[in-house]
Symmetry: C2
Subunit: 120 residues, 2 copies
């Protein structure tokens, strides 16, 4: 076992409290925001999507992102988002200060449809 493999295995599980606040990077390495929380399907125990607060744009905007588009990068100590600027510009979002109804599975499916990814 290499030390790299050992490290990956050791850090295979991440606490939700540590995940919250982690920086999200775009494919080109620029910061696009931070993970504010992850939405979990209580029955299956799977993440439906992550909620990202954006670095630019409206400070109160929250972007729900399919979890499958985020990959943990140990070196960056953050997450890389496999999304384009164009996708983000027209993406579903909601305002932090307004009541949102983003707690149904249908919303998660709608997100997957927008980003054209399969459910995890």
């Amino acid at each position: 076992m290499t030390s790299q493999t050992s490290r990956e295995q050791r850090e295979a599980l991440i606490g939700s409290d540590k995940m919250q606040g982690a920086v999200v990077y775009c494919s080109d390495g620029s910061r696009i925001g931070r993970i504010e929380s992850v939405m979990i399907d209580s029955a299956s125990g799977k993440i439906a999507y992550a909620v990202m607060s954006c670095s630019g744009g409206g400070a109160h905007d929250r972007y729900p992102l399919p979890w499958s588009l985020l990959s943990h990068n140990l070196a960056l100590d953050g997450y890389e988002a496999n999304i384009t600027d164009e996708q983000l510009k027209g993406a579903p979002k909601y305002c932090r200060d307004e009541p949102s109804d983003w707690t149904s599975r249908e919303q998660g499916q709608m997100l997957n449809d927008y980003y054209n990814v399969a459910p995890m």
Copy 2:
């Protein structure tokens, strides 16, 4: 669709920030602790286990619990744990103030073995 079904669907997804701090009840209705965080397998996006701080016993003790043993109870606004007092007494635990190595998948499997549950 009944209003109950509608409510369940609406609250199918729960934010990690809301999950943290939720009360955990035993099968007999007594409080046994609170969810401090959930440990997530970054690759699969699935919860491996929840970390519970205990109401009784050592205030610094943290009990990792398999997610499959917890069920969300809307009426209680918390989680019911399908575990017995006996199981909890001898259960794996660690101290909040000590470094823990509970971030490997093997630890999750060890927990499942102790509580005799299948991986989710």
